[in-house]
Subunit: 201 residues, 2 copies
DNA sequence: TTAGTTTTTGAATGCTTATTCAAGATATGA
DNA sequence: TCATATCTTGAATAAGCATTCAAAAACTAA
């Protein structure tokens, strides 16, 4: 009888979150295709066998890392907005934060969701499903922000919060892509300020 | 003496533009890293030796394809705008065209410049230089469009044409990224309309 | 036609890759 | 302390990759 039901099994020695965050940064720096198992071994400290045991394969590790990334970013977003009683001030701070990430040119500060979207949304339908849901979560979070801004009377025009959330997501995607060629701080800041204006109008 | 100066040399049998367009679509569908030389052989009809003779290596073929893509897109843009006496109507048609490409979900209709920007701008500085210049050309073309719109008295606010051109590029990058998860025609059209409004305000 | 030169061809090369697996190490429960 | 089950290890595997090269084909010039 190889199976035991009630006994405590020996648990893995590595810290799952730590491993996933290491994998995240590896994928961010090189992209999925160019990150080899050797790279992942070096980044995570796990031997190939352990990776395959824990995550099935390289793709499984990416999907798990994507989900960890989404959780981390969700927490981060909530923490940032909870610092502001004015929702509009929170949004301004959020955009400034994104612009700062773009300007830093630090590969570890780009958006893994966006990177994965560009690299494998068209090829891998399972990844696309995960990414679609993550985008929906992001959209909903931003939608709630715009509802709060509206409640606080800081919105000019008649657009719905959902419309605004979508436009903001489009703008942030664009900002991050644009930064690949033009990370000049002044230009990036101006673009961020204009986005805030347009989306609150 | 192996070198001949004045004699006509035998010319290659393949059509360079045709080969580059075939390579373009191959790279668009799979991205640079995942497109193998086998794929490129199948797409272009050229044997490996010929590709290496004409373009040095796989990366050289990509760079040449990027330049062909940029030429083609520049011509296309000029052709589109020349159909309209109202520059603002031309811009509206341009945005509609981009939205249609997004909605089609056809891998051959995405933007190779943007795809390359995402995949290898951070790793390959020579590619980054080429892409930066292509983006500058695009920006200048759009800047000229906004100057014409201003001359025709169709611009509301006080922003410079250059600012507007940059914002439009950001928005189009974002639109194309967004479409990877949400290519619903109505949403995409609304986003396109909003971008036009914001950028002409 | 013929000689000379170039392109085309596609098999061979050597390297890298993701993945597997059996042996060794280690924790658990009695 | 021992027996057992689990995790860890890293070398082995097989497939795929970009690239090369020498032979064959084909164009040019005479």
């Amino acid at each position: 009888m190889p199976e035991q039901e009630n006994n405590e099994m020996r648990s893995a020695e590595f810290d799952r979150e730590q491993v996933l965050r290491a994998a995240m940064t590896a994928f961010m720096e090189k992209g999925y295709a160019k990150t080899s198992m050797q790279d992942l071994k070096a980044a995570t400290g796990l031997h190939p066998g352990s990776i395959y045991c824990a995550f099935q394969n390289k793709r499984g590790l990416l999907l798990a890392a994507l989900e960890q990334y989404n959780r981390d970013r969700g927490d981060e977003l909530q923490a940032l907005f909870s610092q502001f009683s004015s929702a509009r001030a929170g949004l301004a701070a959020y955009l400034t934060h994104v612009v700062d990430e773009c300007v830093s040119c630090d590969p570890q500060k780009l958006c893994l969701t966006q990177k994965a979207l560009n690299e494998l949304a068209e090829q891998d339908t399972e990844a696309q499903a995960i990414l679609s849901e993550q985008c929906a979560m992001w959209r909903n979070a931003l939608c709630a922000v715009f509802e709060r801004i509206a409640d606080q009377g800081e919105l000019t025009g008649a657009r719905t919060p959902l419309d605004r959330a979508r436009s903001l997501i489009v703008s942030i995607y664009g900002l991050r892509t644009f930064a690949h060629t033009h990370p000049e701080p002044q230009i990036m800041r101006d673009l961020g300020a204009q986005i805030l204006k347009d989306v609150c109008q």
